[in-house]
Symmetry: D2
Subunit: 239 residues, 4 copies
């Protein structure tokens, strides 16, 4: 059983009727419905809950955190960011979606600006599979077509990904590293680009499949905690 | 269920009493006994069987091939090498152990000489975990101690590993990249250094655990076969 | 001074008037003219010369080999392939252009099929810079536009590149890892996609700049030759 | 000409006679003397200067910053850390030495704790070259021996290095990724492990050579500044 917490900012769904129309149950609701399966225990949390719904207790009970945020990165409490990063370092999996790239949390874990090119023009995105041997693309064809999406373009100011899983083509002429993995401490991270709030991306079955695969891939490995600090010699030091 | 074929050269066990004493059932037998579990269907094959026991049928029915060879790399049939490489490209997992680094098959998949430094001096090896987030080290502590092993030292002439999982320390003063992953075509490869025929390395429970973990990690991902070749445009090409 | 040998198959320029029109001095002539500078000593070689013009003497005197081939990969002598690979392993730089991806030499160095999607449709290619910190993109803007090129698309069946420098966008809807580096033995390799024989790509100043930068980047590092083989212990082995 | 700024904390040399004896001109003085060459314009800066000697003007005029710090990471001004990281993102090279691994600046650029195992036991370190094709090891043999050093051991909690150049062997039984490169924004970073203040490591000619090579390798590439932000479509977006 993998304990999954889906965090969604859940601000635009409440403010903008056109977003609410696409996501009546919130982006978190659409993702939860889409990835549901027997070996996932799913809960959700949102920005306006106390401590953004990500208390010590919730995070301690979370194996994999899925994160979608956009319009109030600035208002996200620093203390909760520290808490999330600490849990990633301890082994919690983290899936950062779309505009989460610019969250303080993701930038802190990456060590870069995470800036990019962008455009909202209802344009076609095609995500090509770059690593066909990776469990994150199990069940996925050579590419995923999304008829309308926001464009994100290179240069994407991220560290070199540990693994590059998807590259996107955009109708307007750009490309983007759309699926990237990273390791930070004992934890595994997957960044997955698509999912602007005004498009039904999180109702797409292939997108569900990628996210569900990523939950399994980022889930923590069972090992004793890594020790850091002063270490006695394991061998005699001849002098 | 993962279909595992353990291939062992099985020459030295038959020729040298001191090796037979360590591995009365062959290295393949020791590994098979050590990694046995409900979700593995294990068979074995050896050098002197027709086609080295790796016929089209056997390989077609193999999800993960474990490979140990040493003294007759030169005598391994080229046609069977082609067959193995083709299956790796199609997605079969491959675990290459110890002196398999110098097999024609591994060198062909790597594109390098796979040369290294070596010494047989009954010396201590300690394999340090470099990537604590990787499923291959699930259940493994900070390092694995082997009281006596053959030394392999850097520079190890391999391509840069996709993932570096273990680095070995040797009493005589060398280090070695002991656990390395690679992707070739649709297939995943794990090279794992320890296992000289004269030491009881393949009776060690932690070594069993690493190999069993690697079986799961290298197992093929279920996807439609990747298409290569001429491709019609997916979008109108304006001129 | 870097000794550069530009190898061009030079078959299509002699057979097809439309290719000769684009490259009256051959592709090798266009590249030689384009990358000329004081610290490069450039020679050229072609398929129909004895030993394809790549004798022991020529390769021994070559720091960086630039390689363009297409229609007669099958006819390239195995012995010369061995010679090139040996020199790469010893440290010679290698720049493989466009259809050289399918040469026996490149496939041998990669360990994969190097298959891909392709289409000849006079379509636009845009190469986006993915690694702005890399010396290979010195002097290059955010992207290079090529008005007409052959399409190569993902999945490109190569090992994971050590460094990903360019990703191409194609008008027909595909993407491609267009600039990739690899290390093999002591040698550095750069694969650079553009350059179909019927388009004036090798007259483009930005393409010249990338190739010239790559010559500098792949040039050998001056070190004593790496030793491989039996190694005496550097430290006393306590037992 | 590469403008190099060597930053040294320069606290222990002033407090501890045994350190002053090893580094009478400070660690910065030893490094400056060791890497001196015609194409480097070297200046130094230390902790107790205003703004730690790393003013806007100094950093704007710095191509490569070499950084050694140890006992007062906590006292390093956050504003100067921001300034350094901004310059790295813009392209300034950064070489972080030894205990600089635990500086707030390095941890911020890495996104991890940068914790490790450590021991001060006057023990032998041997740095093995892992990437013989890399310019950072030009002129260096198969390994560098340091008769006495502080031990740093794995697991080193860093992101997966972009390139792994050295791995250290320690007499007491540990290994360590001692030479690692990273890219952050437009800038290149080299972490180099050896150099505890009580040992004469920075008087060693091979260590000088590695640092000088790294200065050249991390020096910025000349390109126009990368643009990030809203981007007009380069192609018509058919709907």
């Amino acid at each position: 059983m993998i304990n999954v917490t889906i965090w969604n900012e859940f601000i635009q769904e409440q403010r903008k009727p056109e977003v609410a129309k696409v996501y009546p149950d919130g982006i978190h609701g659409a993702i939860a419905a889409g990835i549901r399966q027997d070996d996932f225990a799913i809960r959700t949390a949102t920005f306006h809950e106390p401590e953004h719904g990500l208390t010590e207790e919730v995070l301690a009970a979370t194996d994999v955190l899925i994160y979608w945020g956009h319009v109030d990165h600035a208002g996200f409490q620093d203390q909760v960011i520290e808490r999330i990063c600490k849990r990633v370092h301890e082994g919690m999996g983290l899936i950062v979606l779309h505009s989460g790239h610019h969250s303080k949390m993701f930038r802190k874990l990456m060590g870069t600006s995470c800036d990019l090119l962008w455009r909202e023009a209802d344009e076609k995105e095609r995500l090509w599979v770059i690593d066909p041997s990776h469990p994150i693309v199990e069940g996925i064809g050579p590419y995923i077509d999304l008829p309308e999406e926001e464009m994100y373009g290179e240069h994407f100011d991220i560290p070199v990904p540990d693994e590059l899983i998807f590259v996107s083509w955009f109708a307007g002429g750009e490309v983007f590293r759309s699926g990237c993995t990273y390791r930070r401490g004992q934890g595994k991270i997957f960044y997955f680009r698509p999912g602007h709030e005004s498009y039904p991306t999180y109702h797409n079955k292939e997108i569900h499949r990628v996210i569900a695969n990523a939950v399994k891939w980022t889930a923590p490995v069972q090992r004793q905690r890594t020790f850091y600090g002063h270490h006695e010699a394991l061998e005699p030091i001849g002098k």
